[in-house]
Structures are given as C-alpha cells and as structure tokens.
C-alpha cells in the first residue's frame, strides 16, 4: 500500500482550485498583452455547475492580494440551463432540472448551455 500526500495551496472548497486555474489563465493573458493591472474579468458560470459565486469571488480576492490582480472585480454571469430535444429538435430552458422535452415529452435531450465555467473577457491597464 502506498500513500501519496498532496499539500495545501488549497482550502476546503473547490472554488479555491477553480480560482487558482482562473488566475493562471489571467496571468498568461496579461503577459501576452503586456498588461500591468487587472481591472475586471467576466466569467460565465452555468446554472448546472456546483460553483458558489460568492465563494469564487472570495477565493479570488484572497489569492490575488498583493499581486497585479489585486482589487480586480470578478463579474459572474450565470448562464441558464438549456437543452435541445433530439426527437423534435426544439431548444428549451430546463426548469427545475427536469431533463424532459416540454414539447414532445422525450428524455432524449442534449444539454446545450448551462454547464459553462469559462472566462470570457477581461479588462486590463
């Protein structure tokens, strides 16, 4: 039996890992565009994710303190859950997480939006 230890830089919420990934992406983009400071970043967070926006903002704030990203605002836009029916090919908003087509009753449906977790735009100086 083997035990592997992974150590911190992570807190007890997974928003910490997500903030860490976000910071890496922003850092790369800032270097690429020779930016000195981050003013804001726009995120799309799908309704069907397990992200608490307040926790993500909190983690981001803590982890960027003292960096070129300090004080930047995270603008989090929640993307509603949408699906397409493979039977009747209509697109609809999924209500109460019920994955059933409201038009023809089929459950052969495909999620088309609402599982996003992406950075869309950032404003820098």
């Amino acid at each position: 039996m083997v035990i592997l230890f992974w150590k911190v830089r992570r807190l007890f919420m997974h928003e910490m890992s997500i903030a860490q990934n976000l910071i890496e992406i922003i850092k790369d983009e800032m270097i690429r565009h020779d930016a000195k400071a981050l003013k804001s970043a726009l995120l799309h967070v799908g309704q069907l994710t397990a992200i608490v926006p307040e926790s993500l903002s909190f983690c981001f704030e803590v982890m960027t303190s003292g960096t070129e990203m300090e004080g930047a605002e995270l603008i989090i836009e929640i993307i509603p859950l949408k699906a397409m029916c493979r039977e009747c090919e209509k697109t609809f908003e999924v209500q109460d997480y019920a994955f059933e087509c409201p038009y023809c009753g089929s459950s052969d449906i495909e999620t088309v939006a609402g599982q996003d977790l992406s950075i869309v735009e950032m404003e820098v100086n």
Partner: protein, 219 residues
Amino acid sequence: MKISVIKNILEANDRIAQENRTIFDEKGLMVINLMSSPGAGKTCLLEKTVDALKDDLRIGVIEGDVQSSQDAERIAKSGIPVVQINTGGACHLDGNMIRDTFQEFNFDALDLLVVENVGNLVCPAEFKVGEDFKAMILSVTEGDDKPAKYPLMFHESKVLLINKIDLLPYVDCSIEKIREEALKINPHMIMFEISCKTGEGLEAWYAWLKQETKSRRSA
C-alpha cells in the same frame, strides 16, 4: 483595454484527465470515479465488490481522502493493489493527483480501476480524472431530497447505488421518490438498490459491473 479570452477555466484539468484517459484506453482498463457524501458506504461497497469479483476481474483501487490511510488499509486486506491519496485539504481528486499514482500500478495486470473520491456530494462532480464513467452512492439515511439538492452529481453519474436499504423501516425516506427525482435529472441513470450490510441487491450490481468491464475489455 478589454481583452476577449473565452477559455474553459478547468481546461488544464480537463487536458490532464484526457491524457489519463488515453493511457487507460491503451491498456483497455475500465476506470470508475466513485463518489458520495462521507459515510454513504463507498469503502464498504468496494470491499464487498472486490471480495465478490476478485476471481473474475483484476481490480485496483485509488483511495482519496483529506487525511488518513484507513480506507486503503481496509482495501489492502483483500490483497489487491491500492494507493491512498491524502489531499491535505482539497475536497476532491483531480487529474493530476490520479496521474501521480500511475507509477504505483501495473495497468497491464488490471481490468478495472476504481477511484474512490473524497466524500462530498458537490465538488468531485466538477473535476474529471479520466474515468469511463462516474458512479455515485446515496444512502437512505441521507434522505430522498438529495437529487433535488445536488443536481450536478446526479446529472453526471451514470450509475446510482441506493445503499443501506436495510434501514428503510427506520428512516423517512422513499426509494420511489429518489428514483423519480434522479430520473428527472438524469433519465438514463442506472440504479441499484443495495445493502452492503445484508448483501441484498449486490448480486445485480456485481453482474452488471462484470459485464460492463468485460465488454470494455473486448471493445
């Protein structure tokens, strides 16, 4: 200055998970990401499953916990290869942690690798590790309101094992409601009603798992 980015924030993990997946595919190894809240019976189900199937399938296990090696010690008793990951605080396993265990396994000598994720109904659903599919356990003592409260986990899991059904007479939990709510979120979910304590319902799970692993091996 505004910069348009449009990047999946978890792409780094998704990429590593995909690399893991490629390695598993090359070895024809079936990999299950097993998730549930703490105490739902993940390790117990694994002990029973390994005992029942170890003559038919060569099974390996990765145990994920915040701390301690108790789960790996339990699994190691059955004599199969097991690696314990202590996340040191993180509430989920990710692709990188799984990749770090590869050197400890001989994948050529395995048919099935089960990754027992950290006990949590929220976070693990968000992070791929390179699995064929996710399976989850819900025990009846947790209540029948859980699918509605944790839709992502139920949406992402191919299999739901409803555990501790021997305790149904003592708890206010309706199996029908669990089934109904889970199928609303995930109409194709495969469900097993089991008791790891009495063994009820486990034969159906063993037979299904054996069949799935064998068809994966021959694919």
